[in-house]
């Protein structure tokens, strides 16, 4: 029995010339290797090359994150949040730390806020650099753009390793600050990376931004309208590519983001090309924030001295902490009953919500376009399935 027999959305009307129409073909498709976007499957119903219906199948990477967190101490969940969106562990840490700080009313010292902004924006840079590489790899520009992107990403990962000890599973934030202060020479190295980054962006843009094949392929593909984006609750670059001016750094002004001047790039068409450009433009704005934060960082403690890491028991209550992660709005909802572990722990992952429009984006397109539409959403299955 097919899972696709029940219609979930309106299907496109079939061509009128009935004599040319063959049977519909049902296939199973998806990135199934962990080193691609993750382990994910789509059940497709095809009319020739065209997609008639699409059903995403989630859950292959489900690791019981939320339930495990309800049995861990508050600190014990911190390294697990690294594994949600395993490309940007620092922003995951930040969102969780923010939720716990709201829950327990912990102040964050000034220097710690700056450290958070610096590492968070570096995370955004390396996520977007990796994503445009992956996206172009999905389009068939095999190897070259991905290698250029990874060459730059590697420099940021080196910075993370020098600061936190790990390249990807950083486990850097603590409630009321950051785990450690900057080691000697880190800031100089980071400034060098930030100063050299625009050169990579220029190189990358001249490599493919005006490429006629790429433009032909991506413009008008996988369109999300402004209304659709708002109705589906999209966030991050996905929503902004459709022209929704929604950036939590501007809307919520969490942390110290009201101190920096930066622009929020907006798209017009909401197609794959806009989403690709959105990442390139956002990286330039992140560099602006980084330059300001590195210039203004004060000295002082890197974490709140009154917050103990052991026997941490926030008073009963609930809190929702959200940040603008590289992929969109990442939120943690916590309920405390006064015990050492949360009573309820819930993650609002941007990848999962952004993925909900996949079928609407894909219907009517060719099979090969599904790959790039999926790539442009920027999903990480660690976060979708949790």
């Amino acid at each position: 029995m097919s899972v696709l027999t029940e219609a979930s959305v309106d299907t496109v009307s079939m061509p009128a010339d009935d004599h040319l129409q063959g049977d519909l073909l049902e296939i199973s498709m998806g990135p199934v290797h962990p080193s691609t976007h993750g382990v994910f499957r789509m059940n497709l119903l095809l009319d020739g090359e065209r997609v008639v219906k699409l059903k995403p199948v989630f859950g292959y990477l489900h690791r019981n994150h939320e339930k495990i967190a309800e049995h861990e101490t508050y600190l014990g969940s911190m390294p697990y949040t690294d594994r949600l969106d395993y490309i940007c562990s620092i922003t995951n840490n930040w969102a969780y730390a923010l939720a716990v700080e709201k829950l327990a009313g912990i102040p964050v010292p000034e220097r710690a806020e700056y450290l958070r902004v610096i590492t968070g924006e570096l995370t955004r840079l390396q996520n977007h650099a990796g994503l445009i590489g992956f996206l172009l790899q999905d389009m068939g520009a095999s190897g070259t753009p991905l290698m250029y992107a990874f060459r730059e990403r590697e420099k940021i990962l080196d910075l993370f390793e020098a600061l936190t000890g790990a390249r990807m599973m950083c486990n850097y934030m603590r409630f009321g600050g950051c785990r450690c202060d900057l080691p000697a020479g880190w800031m100089e190295q980071a400034k060098k990376v930030v100063d050299e980054f625009p050169r990579f962006l220029d190189e990358f843009e001249s490599l493919l931004r005006t490429n006629e094949i790429l433009m032909e392929r991506t413009q008008g593909t996988g369109i999300v309208t402004r209304e659709q984006a708002i109705n589906a609750g999209l966030s991050g670059p996905m929503a902004r590519a459709s022209g929704v001016n929604y950036d939590l750094r501007k809307v919520d002004k969490y942390g110290i983001y009201d101190r920096f001047s930066f622009r929020v790039p907006l798209g017009e068409h909401g197609d794959v090309y806009d989403r690709f450009m959105m990442r390139l433009l956002e990286m330039r704005e992140s560099l602006e924030i980084l330059k300001q934060a590195m210039r203004d960082i004060p000295s002082g403690p890197h974490k709140d001295p009154n917050t103990k890491i052991r026997n941490f028991r926030p008073k009963a209550g609930e809190a929702y902490g959200r940040i603008e992660a590289p992929k969109g709005e990442l939120g943690f909802y916590l309920i405390s009953d006064g015990g050492p572990n949360p009573y309820r722990y819930r993650v609002r992952p941007p990848s999962l919500i952004n993925l909900t429009l996949l079928e609407q984006m894909c219907i009517g397109h060719n099979v090969s376009d599904i790959v790039i539409i999926l790539g442009s959403i920027d999903i990480v299955l660690g976060e979708v399935d949790r």
Binding site: G76, E161, L163, G165, M169, N171, L208, E212
Partner: protein, 223 residues
């Protein structure tokens, strides 16, 4: 002009390709394992136990307090406390781990054990070539495999180790001072007792016994 973008892109690729022959920055990979990148100081992977001196069994800083075992998020540490006590790194008599196992196939290198350890006994290693053909025994590191000298710790994390050594030296001085004071106090008390005993032996003994008895009863009640 149609195709301009493609030509521009290909020029960029060519620049990178030929540049890789002259510019080291354009060729970032190394041929592992013959060639290795310099290690970054803060790097961490799996925990190890620090010991002072030459004998690892005698010099282990771990006092089997089991805090790391409780705080470890994936619960990969297994500790059994010893029955007897021995002097620890600062000279206090303490328990020591009769058994200390870390299952590195479960460990996720989060460093929380290091952060919660009050004795600076567990630190992060940089040894990553741990592959083994025995998937159960080979990845279960026992006490003897985990114990590594303080010199090794200095070699892999020099800045951090120097800080730890300074703090430990301070604690050792404090402990010595405390022991010296305690010894002096004990000697003074013994002298006073001897003097008192010489003066009026029967009454004092009875009073002490009585006091001890009532104190014990009070404790019982409080419980």
């Amino acid at each position: 002009m149609l195709g301009e973008g493609i030509i521009k892109g290909l020029a960029e690729t060519a620049r990178n390709f030929f540049g890789s022959y002259v510019n080291k920055e354009r060729l970032t990979t190394v041929q592992y394992p013959e060639e290795r990148l310099p290690r970054i100081e803060a790097t961490r992977d799996f925990p190890f136990l620090v010991y002072d001196g030459d004998d690892w069994e005698k010099g282990l800083r771990c006092v089997a307090c089991q805090i790391c075992e409780k705080e470890c998020p994936p619960k990969c540490i297994y500790i059994e406390k010893s029955k007897d006590k021995k002097p620890d790194a600062v000279g206090k008599p303490q328990n020591y781990p009769a058994k200390f196992d870390i299952d590195v196939s479960v460990c996720m290198s989060c460093q929380i054990c290091v952060e919660v350890c009050p004795f600076d006994a567990i630190k992060m290693d940089v040894q990553f070539e741990l592959s083994s053909d025995d998937r159960f025994g080979g990845l279960l590191l026992t006490k003897d495999k985990l114990a590594k000298s303080n010199e090794y710790y200095h070699e892999i994390h020099p800045t951090e180790a120097a800080g730890v050594d300074a703090a430990l030296a301070e604690d050792r001085e404090k402990e010595k001072e405390k022991q010296r004071l305690a010894a002096a106090a004990a000697a003074a008390a013994a002298a006073a007792k001897a003097a008192a005993a010489a003066a009026a032996p029967p009454t004092t003994v009875a009073a002490t016994k009585d006091g001890a008895g009532s104190g014990g009863a009070a404790k019982e009640e409080a419980k």
